[in-house]
Structure formats: structure tokens, C-alpha cells
Amino acid sequence: MEIKYISKNLFFSCLQCAQCTSICPISKLNQNFNPRKIVLKYLSETLDLIDIEIAWLCVDCKLCTEVCPKKIPIDEIMANLKLKLYNKQVGSGFKHTKLFIENIKKYGILNEKKLVFKLLNYDFIKDLPIYIKVYFKKKLYWR
């Protein structure tokens, strides 16, 4: 696997205008997720693993890339960070990503039922009404 090359020269083009941060839906809900800071640190190579673990939260909606006046590929920076996290096997999104890929490799298409049951955890009781509803609407059926 290769990490896509993103020119570090972009560091000088980032204006630090924070338009990416102001439009980001995640940074509204989690103060620690700040695209402006992540981009700055990424391009100046001062990110460490604890900093980047938050990158799993990125929903890849590409709003930041769209509003960036300097067209910095922030979405690709986030994807790179996710790739690093995946290779290091850490973070909140790792388990889901790994099971998702295994599932598709096994069945060819996504087997939602298997994936959902493998991802069940302790707070599954809270969501029980949802699972029951979904089940009776015949939505979690495999083929």
C-alpha cells in the first residue's frame, strides 16, 4: 500500500483562514477535531499518533476541500491519516474498517447482518428497539 504523495509545499499556501473548520460538521460537535490545525500539523510534519487518532471521526463529506480558497486536498490528507491509523491498527474506527473489509472479501458484497452482529457491543441493549424494528421490517436479511 502506498501513501499518496501530498506536496509539502502546500504548507506555504495554507492561509489559516479556518473556512474548513467553520464548515466542518464534526468540529461543531467535537472541539478537538479541528481541520485547520490538523492540516497545519500535517504539512509541517509535527503530527503524532495521539493527535491523528481523531481522524477516524472524519466523515469524508469533502465540504472542507470544497470551500478551501487554496484548493488544498484536505480530504486526501484525512484519508492519509486514516491509512496510517489502519496500518498501525489503532483508533475507534479500526475495528469497523477491518471487519468491513473482511466481510466484503468473504461474501463479495457486504453482508450487513453479519457485520452488524459482529460489531455489537455492551450498549446494544439501548438500541434493541431499533434492531427489533429493523428486523420486523425485513431489513436485516441476507439475500
Binding site: 469524508d60 463529506c61 484519508a79 469497523h96 425485513k138 431489513k139 436485516l140
Partner: protein
């Protein structure tokens, strides 16, 4: 105009968004588009291309080869599939395969003036909130027909069906689905912010072209909200006068009974 097209329904529309699959087949039968089923694999789900390029390429090489053998363009009903296929086509440099989303096929290829004579029911005086989802707008180069920050195609389509489209700032935001297994709290908050904004602006119905957005908004919406979330295909199906059951409207989690009363009784 499209006569015959390969049909890439995607994993989600075969399982937890079956109604989208049913409704799409029903409307295509009605307006005379022949759908060809091929044994496709998963597109990569918008997640694999970020972390496992090799698997992504294997999956999509297989899918694209199927299309090359049949010499067909491909219709997608999921924004993520649409994005992944376009991504694979770009990297494999197979520009002769055209990937068309359902809304593009109906609005641009089939044409609204031709669709006009098929319309049986109108959404008169119904306030409908369009919800685009990220992938039908961004990245810009894959969606040249849409304005990525001021989208309008769904709004225009609602007006075309006689409805009253609502302007609200969350229409182009993310539904939160990608975070569902990373941080559930944030994901559910994001979905409910959208529904809250839409209902505050008086909407009685939300329409979205992406089955994942539909699932997220439908399943995880606050019990008090009670706003039905329809697939694009279901909304068009109602307008074409297709029966309630054939559109799978009884399979939506949030009750669509008031639509049944309004359009089918």
C-alpha cells in the same frame, strides 16, 4: 435517451434499503427503461479506497470488466456506488463507461418534458425538504451537473412534481452515517440536527437520493420528530401512481401512513 442499462443496485439496496430497489424497478418498468442485472461485487463502500487500495482495485476491476463485456452504461441508485465507480474508472482510465445516477438518468437523460405525461399525482401544497447527501454533490468534478455548495436539482424536481421545496442550511450537510461505528453519539446528533432544521422550517417530508442517508435519518431519528424520509425513487413512484406496496412504502421505519391517506385513499 436510455433504453437499456446495467443496473448496479449495491449492497445496501439489496438488504436494508430494499424499498429503494423495489421502487427503482417499478419506476423503470413504468417509464420503459430496461434494467440488466449483472453479478456485481461491492463497490468498496467509500471506505476501502482510503485504507486498502489493492482490494478496492480488485473489486472494481471485476465490476468494470462485467460492464465492458456487456458494453453497457451503468445506473446506480446509491451515491457511494456512483462515487466509487467513477473513482475506479478514473484510475483505470476507462472513460467509455458512463456511470449515471438515478436522479441524473431521470432529470437529464430521460428529460422532464417527457416525464410530464407519466405523472398521475401531484404533491400539491406539501412542504418537502430536499436532502442531497455528500456524494451527490461532492467532489465537484464527479458531479458537474450539481452546484456543490448551492445545490438545486432536487429542489427543482420537487417543484416540478408540484411540491413546495424548503430552503434549509442542512440540506447539503453530512447525515453522519460514516461515524455510526466510530462515534455513535456524534452520528446520531448529526442526523437529528438535519431533521430538527428541516422540521423547524415546516417540512412534512424529507427526500434523499442516497440510501445510506435515508437509512440514517429514518432509523435514528428522534421518536418525537415523525418525519417520513423517502428515497428519490419512492417520491417519483408516488407521482407516477405506482401502488403503495410496490414502492415498499410500508418498509420505511418512520411511518408513512399519512402519505398513504393522502395519495392512496
Amino acid at each position: 435517451m436510455i433504453k437499456k442499462i446495467a443496473y448496479f443496485n449495491g449492497c445496501v439496496a439489496q438488504q436494508s434499503a430494499k424499498e429503494n430497489n423495489m421502487a427503482t424497478r417499478a419506476i423503470c418498468r413504468k417509464i420503459g427503461i430496461e434494467l440488466v442485472d449483472l453479478p456485481f461485487h461491492c463497490c468498496g463502500g467509500g471506505l476501502i479506497h482510503q485504507v486498502d487500495q489493492k482490494t478496492f482495485q480488485e473489486l472494481n476491476k471485476y465490476n468494470l470488466n462485467l460492464l465492458l463485456n456487456e458494453k453497457l452504461d451503468v445506473l446506480t441508485i446509491c451515491s457511494i456506488c456512483n462515487y466509487s465507480l467513477k473513482l475506479a474508472i478514473n484510475s483505470e482510465n476507462l472513460k467509455m463507461i458512463k456511470v449515471i445516477s438515478l436522479e441524473e438518468a431521470i432529470i437529464l437523460e430521460f428529460g422532464l418534458d417527457r416525464l410530464e405525461k407519466f405523472i398521475k399525482k401531484r404533491f400539491d401544497n406539501l412542504k418537502i425538504a430536499p436532502f442531497y447527501g455528500c456524494r451527490s454533490l461532492r467532489p465537484k468534478e464527479f458531479n458537474p451537473f450539481n452546484d456543490s455548495l448551492n445545490p438545486y436539482f432536487l429542489k427543482d424536481f420537487i417543484s416540478f412534481l408540484g411540491g413546495d421545496p424548503i430552503d434549509y442550511s442542512h440540506s447539503k450537510k453530512c447525515c453522519g452515517f460514516p461515524d455510526l461505528y466510530v462515534n455513535k453519539k456524534i452520528a446520531i446528533k448529526m442526523a437529528n440536527d438535519i431533521i430538527y432544521d428541516a422540521s423547524n422550517n415546516g417540512s412534512e417530508l424529507i427526500v434523499t437520493p442516497c440510501p445510506l442517508c435515508q437509512m440514517m435519518l429514518d432509523i435514528y431519528q428522534n421518536k418525537k420528530a415523525k418525519i417520513p424520509i423517502l428515497h428519490f425513487s419512492q417520491m417519483l413512484g408516488i407521482a407516477l401512481g405506482i401502488p403503495y406496496k410496490e414502492l415498499g412504502l410500508d418498509m420505511n421505519i418512520t411511518s408513512t401512513k399519512y402519505l398513504r391517506r393522502k395519495f392512496y385513499e
